[in-house]
Amino acid sequence: MTGAAIAGLGLTEMGKVYGRSSTSLAAEAVRLAVADAGLGLSDLDGLLVSAGVKQDVNVNLAAVLGLHDLVVLNQVNAYGATAGVMVAQAAQAIAAGAATTVACVFADTPLKPKQSAGAAWGSGAKRPGAAKGLRGMAGWSVNSGATNPNILYALCARRHMERYGTTSAQLAEIAVAQRAWAVHNPLAQMREPLTVADHQASRWIADPLHLLDCCLVSNGAVAVVVTAADRAASLAKPPVHVWGYGQAHAPRRMHAGSDWGLVTPAGRSGPAAMRMAGIGVDDVDVAELYDCYTYTVLVTLEDYGFCAKGEGGAFVSDGRLAPGGKLACNTGGGQLSSYYMWGFTPLSEAVIQARGDGGARQAPRNDVVLVSGNGGILEHHSTLVLSPHERKAS
């Protein structure tokens, strides 16, 4: 079977980038990724498109880019798990001989000028002319007050705290470690060093989550180009080989006995990807973990088997994830400190690390790079195992 590799990476400006559509940013990211690989747009025969919060980029991107001769074209959506799902689909298409060169792109523009990050996630309820009251069963749901991801992830974190004694100060360790990495990342939006005390003093969003437990909101786009491993070897950049992939989906069950919030589908996706790659967690040099919230990192580490269930709080303490710590994790600062591009945040940093292009933030070893994607409220998961080395035949 033909192995696949990531041959190109394209990142547009990130953050408060105004006056451009998601489609325009997506097109730029694809052009950058293709050029990064030393290819031309006409070399692409596949395009997979992911829209973010605004959901305003789609398969019309192919026409925008003048791609009139594709054999793979699709819009993919598994929420925050999408990036890993796309790379897996591209790798499968290449392995099957259905395509040779597939670009995967994400773009989003939720931020507007003079608007808070929180407002970027608002709903139509604030539109003038909206109904005076809330209608039907939705009215009861809205009155529960648990209507956005901040609150729903906080419910999950609270469960873990109650069950295992996890503390907010332990979650702070994750935010502090990632900021320490971001200090060295010129692409990061937040680069001022952070302390546990800063985290604890940041305002409550949804107790037990402080402001500094929550990800950024960013405008921008990221693309990668996936091709056959042997072809990638002759292109412009060192190939980043795809050793393994996995995904698992578990829409939450709202019923007695449900482990929603405590156990995530990472527990199935991670081991599947590592099995395919022929590695175990002890082989992982760099972990780029989806971090919409600090708690997402903690629970993913547990579900991947870096530590036992319930021990995530102790595991992340004492700077284990920080520069110089035992596990290089979210080396660009992650979604908490660098930029929020759904699963393309961990994926893009993984490619940079696997290439050895991390500069001042380059991890000491990069033979095995693990990438996670998480979507819904800990309900959808994807995993990639990447490496600068071609996988040895097993």
């Binding site: 929180g118 996630w121 608002g122 709903s123 309820a125 604030k126 109904a131 005076k132 009251g133 809330l134 209608r135 039907g136 069963m137 009215g139 009861w140 749901s141 809205v142 009155n143 529960s144 007050g145 648990a146 209507t147 956005n148 901040n150 609150i151 906080a154 419910l155 999950c156 609270r158 469960r159 109650e162 069950r163 305002r203 409550w204 969003i205 949804a206 107790d207 037990p208 989550l209 069950r253 709202m254 019923h255 007695a256 449900s258 919030g261």
Partner: protein
């Protein structure tokens, strides 16, 4: 820390639920397997059946998790913060995402006994449907 409750107007699909609330009853659904399901469920996962019937439940339950919301997620809830949102496990099994009336959120613990209570939505001038919420016993 018990907030306000934005106005709710019932509609055809929600009429049975809000009519029950007006009688002081909490209405759920039951599938052919006997599993009791929340109002939004469309399938009984134990039998795969979409044939669900209404059932009045006890309104007794336990606290699974809760959050003290400080930043309103919607403009409609701007006057309600800070408030407590919770997951409650009903004695009959289903989990509900609900507002929890709690005077001392710091004293809440997972597993604590809770029960339903019905509060009016909207205002005195403009009342809406009665809403099931929960409170510690």
């Amino acid at each position: 820390m018990n907030g306000s409750f934005p106005l709710v107007e019932g509609d055809e699909p929600s009429a049975a639920f809000y009519d029950a609330a007006a009688r002081g009853e909490l209405l759920m659904q039951r599938g052919p397997s006997g599993t009791v399901l929340p109002p939004e469920a469309r399938t009984d996962p134990d039998s795969g059946s979409a044939d669900l019937e209404p059932v009045v439940v006890s309104g007794e339950g336990t606290l699974v998790s809760w959050v003290v919301v400080h930043q309103a997620p919607l403009p409609a809830l701007a006057d309600a913060v800070p408030y407590v949102s919770a997951v409650v496990e009903l004695a009959e099994g289903p989990w509900l995402m609900v507002r929890l009336l709690a005077d001392d959120p710091a004293a809440l613990r997972a597993g604590a006994q809770v029960r339903v209570r019905f509060v009016p939505s909207g205002s005195e001038e403009e009342p809406g449907e009665l809403l099931p919420v929960f409170e510690p016993v």
